[in-house]
Structures are given as structure tokens and as C-alpha cells.
């Protein structure tokens, strides 16, 4: 008797499981079964961050990345192309904000950490991370002028990075491969440091024609100083 009861229980459990697992949703598809498509929301998020960056909205771009991937520092060296793109956005946003990201409005302070760049140590940490992230990307995409331009731009702001920046950017400029107006702006500053005013003027002209506005190319005090 006890065996029968146990059997009945088992059958009941099995039937319940079958009932629960075979959802009626297939009928909603007209009897056909379609796999559910899962879309990774980060794809859209990274695309939006790239767009914000291209429009000069560095805080919005960096904020989007840090919000989506607050642990992005721990992902360094990831082979996931999406993570690499996010890293690139953050790296460029950081160096164009000179290591200081005013993200308090975008990201909770708890996860913001050193990205704020409030102290000199945080600022240096951010700039070094930016350069390291761009170097990592360049290692995977050898000789990509767009990454080389960004790296040159970041290096130009790093203590002791100017010489390498100059070599990178001059090499690109000689082949008409400087990929951003900001790259020409950094080159103008580097040439100015060397007393090459004609070269500086030329680079600024390229910056202005490429930017479509002189605003991006105006010298700021923290650049290449």
C-alpha cells in the first residue's frame, strides 16, 4: 500500500513537472516553436557610448561604460570585442577629460572610485590606465592608425610620454593617417613644445578643417604641458 502511495506521489510530481515545463506559449505561436532571441543590452549601450564620444560628450560616454561595466578594470585583456570597445571608449574619454571624469551625476559614488580623478594620484592612475588600455588594443590591432592616434593623444599628456607621442603622431601625419582632429591638436601642441611654430600652425589647420570647428582645436592649459 505504501508503495502504491509512493508511486502515486511520484506520478503526480512527474505530471506536475511535465505540465509546468510544457508551456502553452507554443500555441500562441500558432503551434510553431520559435527560439527566444536574447539581445545583449550592452551592444546598444556601447554603441551609444561611442556615439556620445564622437560628439564630444566624454562624461556621457564614460558614464555609460562605467554604469554598464562597473568592473571594467578587472576585465583588462578580455578578448570579448564588446569589452574591448567599451575599454576604448573609456580610455579616450578619460584622456580627453585629462584624467578627471565628473561622473557623480551619472554613476553612484560607491562604484565611481578613482574614475573621478579628484586627487593627483587618482588622476595619474586614470591616465595610466587609459594609456595601458590603448596599448592593449593596439597590440591586438597592429598598426591601426585610429588607435595609434588615440594613443599618441593620450601619451602626449602623460609625463615622459611626449617623445613617444611625437614619434607616433609625426609618423601618421607624414602618411596623412592622423585619424582624429584631437590627434592633430595634440601634434600641434607637441610641435609647439619643440618650437616648430610653422608645423604647429599646419597641424592646427588640419585639426580645424577636420573638426569643422575651431573650438575642438583651441589649446587647453592641461594639454601637452
Amino acid at each position: 500500500m505504501s508503495i502504491s502511495k509512493q508511486r502515486i506521489r511520484m506520478v503526480a510530481i512527474a505530471l506536475t513537472f511535465v505540465g509546468l515545463s510544457s508551456s502553452a506559449s507554443a500555441l500562441a505561436c500558432g503551434g510553431d516553436w520559435y527560439p527566444e532571441v536574447e539581445i545583449d543590452p550592452r551592444i546598444h549601450g556601447v554603441a551609444q557610448a561611442e556615439k556620445a564620444l564622437s560628439h564630444g560628450n566624454y562624461v556621457a560616454a564614460a558614464g555609460a561604460v562605467v554604469r554598464m561595466m562597473p568592473h571594467i578594470k578587472t576585465l583588462s585583456g578580455s578578448k570579448d570585442p564588446l569589452v574591448q570597445r567599451a575599454e576604448r571608449v573609456l580610455a579616450v574619454a578619460i584622456e580627453r577629460s585629462s584624467g578627471t571624469l565628473a561622473l557623480e551625476q551619472e554613476v553612484p559614488t560607491k562604484i565611481l572610485g578613482h574614475w573621478r580623478g579628484k586627487t593627483q594620484a587618482e588622476h595619474d592612475k586614470n591616465m595610466n590606465w587609459s594609456v595601458a588600455a590603448l596599448r592593449r588594443e593596439l597590440a591586438t590591432k597592429k598598426d591601426d592608425p585610429a588607435i595609434m592616434t588615440d594613443l599618441g593623444e593620450a601619451l602626449s599628456q602623460l609625463d615622459g610620454g611626449q617623445e613617444e607621442a611625437r614619434t607616433l603622431l609625426e609618423s601618421l601625419a607624414s602618411r596623412d593617417l592622423v585619424a582624429t582632429p584631437e590627434g592633430y591638436k595634440a601634434l600641434a601642441a607637441l610641435r609647439s613644445q619643440k618650437g616648430d611654430s610653422a608645423g604647429q600652425e599646419l597641424a592646427l589647420k588640419r585639426c580645424e578643417s577636420m573638426a569643422g570647428t575651431a573650438k575642438i582645436c583651441e589649446a587647453d592649459t592641461h594639454r601637452a604641458s
Partner: protein, 424 residues
């Protein structure tokens, strides 16, 4: 008999069955489809010996290797090569987007759909040897031209020389090649009347002859309209189609090419000959040449957003994209394909365009360095205009490759953007 003897008998029987099965099973060709699929159309007695094909110029076995190298199977069925995966197939993605089966969000699907409706079909190469002239195949490979007025032309000018084109033509012409019968003389005038009566012009254009009275265009985006789009302009038939097979084709198209969408009109032998006579002998007015007027650069500012929206994202991005942001493989113009080496050109962003391309030695060069008196990008757009008139530049390949040339206004827009310093 003892147990051992029975076991032996059983094993022998099993072995016999296995051998028989292996002989009977449809053998999959080295690269392609089961034999039963590729050869139903041609009666065995009509198949021309392979030796007869080999005697012609061109190496068919080398041609087969080239067909693989140039990835003809990315767009065409019936090449004799295995089907390519979805992400490599030129038209399957478009078809899935059009029918809503592509695995992206509904918003993305709605965004993609308007851009792909023109490119869902490519003619199949099934039984090509039973239909087309080998010399025509060779010439077409060297200088592709628009044969189907209702289909967006997508055949690229591949990076091949005359010898390679001959080899590919030899391979394709040998596929399903069938012996023909000499075409008997027909009544061309009656042939034209029959074409009017059968409404051939519903699907086929016949440029250069007086317009046909009959022929109603099928409803847009219907199956019939897609079939009609694959129908070639009949002015090319006299060089393109094997004369000794034209009558057989008109009598029963599916017997020649099983996957054709051309219907069987139930013609008699005489009627088929009459239609063939008209198609092959009708007087043709000269084909109009494509005219292109290079417009002066605009006096207003052209931003990257404008030129990208109107030209780059609509055209260049198809073959020159960033695999990380666009998915797929980046296209033949970036990561390579269709026999082209990877050129590393991406039209995915302002910066990626300015990052240039890889030359033959793998060195990065600007897309704006001067070539043939113009920045390379502009020179390529202008070269494509010349290619539409069968003039080919050795210095630069016309772009957009395999797509119609840009309009004068679009070229003007790009040229203005370049002249202004490629502003963002």
C-alpha cells in the same frame, strides 16, 4: 551448422549489405551537392564527354579551385561548392531580414528592412554548362555588366586575369554540359507575335527592339516579381546563350535547369524555333551608353554625418565595415573575401575612414592620397562610372564594387567632403 558458422554467415551478410548500401547511397560530390540533385536535367546520352571540354582553352580543374577562391558560392547556388554559412552568404541574411526571421531586435529589423529589399536574389549557376556559351562566361567574368534591368546588379569585378577567367569558364561550362541540337531556321516575325501573345515582356526586357504591346508588370515584392527580376534582358541572348540549346530551353526550361523560375509555356517545336529566330536575329538599336557628368564641389559645408547618411552607410558600409560593431566578418573590403586580400578598410566611423587601407605590401596608406589625378577614394568612385561603359582602370578598382555607380550628386557630396578636409 554450429553457432560459429551462423555468426560467420551473419557477418558476411552484414558486410554484403554495407557494400551494397555504400554503392547505392547518393554520393555527395567532393565539394557540393548530391549527384541526384545536380544531374537530373540532362539525359545521359546527351552528356558531352569531359575530354571534349578539356580540349578547349582553360583548365577546368584549376577553374574549380578558382571558383572556391573567389567564393562564387557566397552568392550563387549551383557552383558545385558546398553552401556557405549564413554569415558568409550574401543573400540569406537579406532574405531572413525581409521575412522577419533574422535574430535581432524588432527595432533593428525595422531599421534594416528598407535597405535590403533590392538584394535578395542572385541567379543560380545550376546547369550553366547546359545553357551558356563558355566564351561569354569568360568575358562576363572579366567585365561584368548589368544583364537584368529589374535586379540590382551585384556581380563584382573580381581580381582575376584573362587566364583565370578562362579556367573558371572551362569549369562552369563543363558542369552539366549537354550536347545540343543545331537550331533549325524559324519565322522571326511569327516569333515576335508569339512573344506578344505569351506576354514574355511581363518578365523579360528586350532592349533595342520595338517595345512589346503586351506584358503587365507583376505586383511589387511578389514571388512573381522576384522571378521577373531574375529574367535577363533578351538582347544579350545571342552572345550569351548556347544556340544549340535555346530551342530545348524554350520548350522545357526546367528540363534544362531544374531550379529555374521560367515557366513552361507548352510551345511546339516550331514555335520554339520561331521565338529563338526572333531573339537571335531581331535588329537591335545600339545600347545607350551611361553618361556621367562630374559636378563641381559644393559651395556649402558637407559634414561627415551628411555624407555618411547619404552615401557611406548606404553603400560603402556593405563591404567595408567593422566586424566588432556590425557583426559578420567585416566584409570583403575589410577582412577580405571573393579572392580579395584583407584591405582593412572600414567605413564604420569617421576615424576608421581616416585610418586608410592596407596596400599590397601590408603597409597602411591614406584613402586620400592622389591616384590618377584625384584622391584615391574619389578616383575609385569615378573609375566605377567608366566601368559601367566597359572601360577599366588598372590604377584603381571602381567602387562601389559590384553595385551600381554612385549618382553624380553623391559623388559630388563625397568630393566636397574630401575637399573640405573631411570634417566631422
Amino acid at each position: 551448422m554450429g553457432t560459429r558458422a551462423w555468426v560467420r554467415v551473419l557477418l558476411l551478410l552484414l558486410a554484403g549489405v554495407c557494400v551494397a548500401c555504400s554503392r547505392r547511397a547518393p554520393r555527395v560530390e567532393e565539394w557540393g551537392r548530391p549527384e541526384s540533385v545536380s544531374e537530373p536535367a540532362v539525359a545521359p546520352s546527351l552528356v558531352e564527354p569531359v575530354a571534349a571540354i578539356d580540349a578547349l582553352t582553360g583548365d577546368a580543374s584549376r577553374g574549380r579551385e578558382l571558383v572556391a577562391r573567389f567564393e562564387c558560392n557566397r552568392c550563387h547556388d549551383g557552383s558545385g561548392l558546398a553552401a556557405v554559412p549564413l554569415e558568409k552568404n550574401c543573400f540569406s541574411c537579406h532574405e531572413q531580414i525581409a521575412t522577419g526571421k533574422f535574430k535581432v531586435s524588432a527595432e533593428a529589423l525595422a531599421r534594416f528592412r528598407p535597405h535590403i529589399l533590392d538584394a535578395r536574389d542572385a541567379p543560380s549557376l545550376t546547369a550553366i554548362g547546359a545553357r551558356l556559351e563558355r566564351t561569354w562566361i569568360r568575358d562576363y567574368l572579366l567585365s561584368p555588366r548589368d544583364l537584368r534591368p529589374k535586379l540590382m546588379p551585384t556581380m563584382p569585378r573580381l581580381a582575376l586575369d584573362a587566364e583565370q577567367a578562362s579556367d573558371i569558364a572551362a569549369y562552369l561550362a563543363a558542369r552539366d554540359r549537354a550536347l545540343g541540337t543545331p537550331l533549325r531556321a524559324g519565322n522571326a516575325l511569327h516569333g515576335r507575335e508569339l512573344m506578344e501573345h505569351k506576354a514574355c515582356s511581363s518578365c523579360h526586357s528586350f532592349s533595342g527592339v520595338p517595345a512589346f504591346a503586351s506584358g503587365t508588370a507583376p505586383p511589387a515584392d511578389s514571388d512573381v516579381s522576384r522571378s521577373a527580376a531574375l529574367a535577363p534582358d533578351l538582347r544579350f541572348t545571342r552572345e550569351r546563350f548556347r544556340r544549340d540549346r535555346l530551342s530545348a530551353w524554350l520548350l522545357d526550361p526546367k528540363a534544362v535547369k531544374p531550379d529555374t523560375r521560367m515557366p513552361n509555356f507548352g510551345l511546339s517545336g516550331d514555335e520554339a524555333n520561331d521565338i529563338a529566330a526572333y531573339i537571335l536575329t531581331a535588329e537591335l538599336a545600339p545600347a545607350p551608353s551611361e553618361t556621367f557628368t562630374r559636378l563641381p564641389v559644393l559651395a556649402r559645408r558637407v559634414s561627415y554625418d551628411e555624407v555618411n547618411t547619404k552615401v557611406f552607410s548606404r553603400t560603402c558600409h556593405h563591404c567595408h565595415s567593422d566586424p566588432e560593431s556590425s557583426g559578420g566578418d567585416g566584409g570583403p573590403g575589410n577582412t577580405g573575401g571573393f579572392g580579395f586580400a584583407p584591405r582593412g578598410v572600414s567605413f564604420s566611423s569617421h576615424a576608421s575612414i581616416l585610418a586608410g587601407y592596407l596596400d599590397e605590401r601590408g603597409q597602411r596608406r591614406s584613402l586620400f592620397e592622389p591616384v590618377a589625378g584625384a584622391p584615391r577614394l574619389i578616383a575609385a568612385l569615378l573609375a566605377r562610372q567608366d566601368e559601367a561603359n566597359q572601360k577599366y582602370s588598372q590604377a584603381v578598382r571602381g567602387m562601389p564594387l559590384g553595385l551600381p555607380p554612385l549618382s553624380p550628386e553623391d559623388v559630388q557630396l563625397v568630393e566636397t567632403w574630401v575637399a573640405e578636409g573631411k570634417p566631422m
